[in-house]
Amino acid sequence: MSATTVVKIEKVSKRFIIRKEKSLKERLVNFGRSNLHKDDFWALRDIDLDITSGSTIGLIGANGSGKSTLLKMIGGILQPTSGTVHLRGRLAALLELGAGFHPDLTGRENVYLNASILGLSRAQTDKHFDAIVDFSGIERFIDTQVKFYSSGMYVRLAFAVAVHVDPDILLVDEVLAVGDEPFQRKCMDRIRGFQHEGRTIVLVTHSLDQVAELCDRAVVLEHGAIIADGEPREALRTLRGEFEHTRQEEIAREQEAGQEAGSLPTSKARVEAIRLMGEDGTPVSEISPGQDLRIGLTLQADERVDQPIIGVGIDTPLGQNVFGTNTKLLGRRLDSLSGRKEVEFRLPGLQLGEGAYTVHGAIAADSGAELHRLIEGAQFTVTTGGGSVGFVWTQAEFAGSPT
């Protein structure tokens, strides 16, 4: 059967007007000229998005790309300037943990209050109360005023309330990375439980690994527009490419500014290409565990770079780094670099697990400031005989009960 649409966003735009005056006097004095004192800012432009029941969707993008605004619009907290947002089912927002907590009330009172804000009736809260306290793990302090709580305890209790609400749609904004490790794992398990129960989850986060791990769809926003929508793998690639692009622009700007100010010119250097070779120097794109890998970098320095640091790394297609090294870590000091130069790293007996990998190369100044990074400069796959999963490979065997 086809899944039901639970959130339907049609042609939504949101404009913020930034006023520079607030008091009555300022407004009266500037009356009629008030347009001079306004700034328009489009947080979102013509967004169309359908979210189907049971999906977990990640909204990602740089700071200020409008993802939180979009989430607030789904939650009904902000109203679109034009367009419509339609919903089906019960919605709960985990926007900021403990937003509804009152510092002077006890944990117990706050649980009831917060549950009620999230749409739970008193009877339902009574039913879940023990489970909530249990989940939060702060039984001893439940009758203490929450102003005496540590921030960890605060967040634990708030999260415990939020996950016991019974939503069809759960909106989550940057709150999963709270608490200590065991608690985080508990939260993640809970989110997976939600997925299993067919609840829809809309997640805003900067943790791209989390998106890769949890979501079955990712939407990338940039300057209020959707620039990618689909498989998390594709979307993450777009976003990482975008980030790299922004970084390059920043570096270019810094170099310009540096030259104008007459200060030390930052060097311009690039990693132009990455080649993968086997032991014998022939190009490879597929290796088996235990084989040697040689990574050749073509560097181009338009200006002289003194004592550069050169590095390479191996990433998964989702961008998680599995291996990395550089000349500094290897204890090698390089002389100055200028013009075009070929360098090579050797990774003997590479024991990677089965799968596709990408290779990046980077060059940095001696201060450690990165000058350029070529992401996904080369790809290769590792094929093993099977028998294991993960990024590391070894010839595992089952030994039975040791005698």
């Binding site: 059967m1 899944a3 039901t4 649409t5 639970v6 339907k8 913020f16 607030k22 008091s23 009555l24 407004r27 029941s53 049971g54 607030k72 619009m73 789904i74 939650g75 009904g76 907290i77 902000l78 109203q79 419509t84 947002v85 339609h86 919903l87 089906r88 089912g89 919605l91 927002a93 926007l95 900021e96 937003a99 509804g100 009152h102 002077d104 009330l105 009172e109 009831y112 209050l113 009620s116 804000i117 999230l118 009736s121 008193r122 005023q145 069809d168 299993h196 129960e197 067919g198 609840r199």
Partner: protein
């Protein structure tokens, strides 16, 4: 797709799509607003309790404080105005007279002053969760009513103490004036709390206006004293202030020894008219509130 998923999915398919957040429309939205608020009545109760609990949480005397303030005022007015300025000579049972007016006024000013600030104070919540925002001013009404009930108890006890317990049909003035008071104060709280989001000057203006209206109502002086000083036309203007009528209504109920005193005529009819006007205002103010609330989250 597992069973849970398809079950939830098909259950959701039968629901209609609804608009996220408040519904648009000036007139048609009225019913929807009432339905939304009704659905949140449990939350309203919680918020009211929160206001009350949090207010005196760490004080030893707790709720007693909400009683001590009007009692202190009573003492001041009784001594300064009643004795020193001599108002008590003209007004029998001066203490009961003042306390009847003060009880009504405290409720009125508490709803308006706290109500005006209610949206701004709850900014953290409004920016994070969507709720019908009317619950915030309404929870102020709830907690003010609680304090009022305590004071009303003291007032009744006072009438017993002076040996003039109100009886019979004079009690009818109490629900009528209370209704006028609540309708008007709630309307003002809706309007002012919403405007205050956009213009923070409002909450300071309200403080001053409340002070002026305190003296423009017959609380510490009697209608008989005031009407003697002003002309026919000004008298009508004075009576057009609904709080004057409400306080006269309270005095009509509790100030038994004031029976022989000069009273404005047709008090019940005037209160009735004020109630109708108040209901119309309440509706208008709620609609303005509903219109303005769309941008609360970004203005706060």
């Amino acid at each position: 797709m597992n069973d849970h998923r398809s079950a939830r999915s098909s259950a959701l398919a039968s629901e209609p799509l609804r608009i996220a957040g408040p519904r648009p429309g000036f007139v048609v939205g009225t019913l929807q607003s009432i339905r939304d608020i009704h659905a949140q009545r449990e939350l309203l109760g919680m918020l009211t309790r929160r206001e009350l609990k949090a207010k005196y949480k760490d004080s030893t005397l707790g709720f007693l404080w909400s009683l001590l303030k009007p009692l202190a005022l009573l003492l001041i007015y009784y001594v300064a105005i009643g004795r020193f300025l001599g108002a008590a000579r003209e007004i029998p049972d001066f203490a009961v007279f003042i306390y009847a007016g003060l009880t009504a006024w405290t409720l009125y000013s508490e709803i308006i002053a706290s109500g005006t600030a209610s949206i701004v104070v709850n900014a953290g919540l409004i920016k994070k969760v969507y709720l019908p925002r009317e619950v915030f001013p309404l929870s102020v009404v709830g907690s003010a009513l609680f304090n009022f009930t305590i004071q009303l108890g003291v007032l009744v006890a006072a009438t017993v103490a002076v040996g003039a317990f109100p009886t019979g049909s004079r009690w009818l003035y109490l629900p009528l004036s209370l209704a006028v008071l609540l309708v008007l104060a709630t309307a003002a709280a809706f309007l002012l709390s919403a405007v205050n989001v956009y213009l923070r000057d409002v909450q300071y203006l309200v403080e001053i206006l409340l002070m002026i209206f305190f003296w423009a109502s017959p609380i510490v002086y009697s209608w008989a004293l005031a009407s003697g000083e002003i002309g026919r036309w000004l008298q009508e203007l004075y009576l057009a202030n609904p709080m004057t009528l409400v306080i006269l209504g309270f005095q009509e109920t509790f100030w038994v020894s004031g029976d022989g005193e000069l009273k404005p005529d047709h008090l019940a009819e005037r209160l009735g008219v004020a109630l109708l006007v108040g209901i119309l205002l309440l509706w208008l103010c709620q609609r303005v509130f509903a219109r303005l609330q769309a941008n609360f989250a970004q203005e706060l």
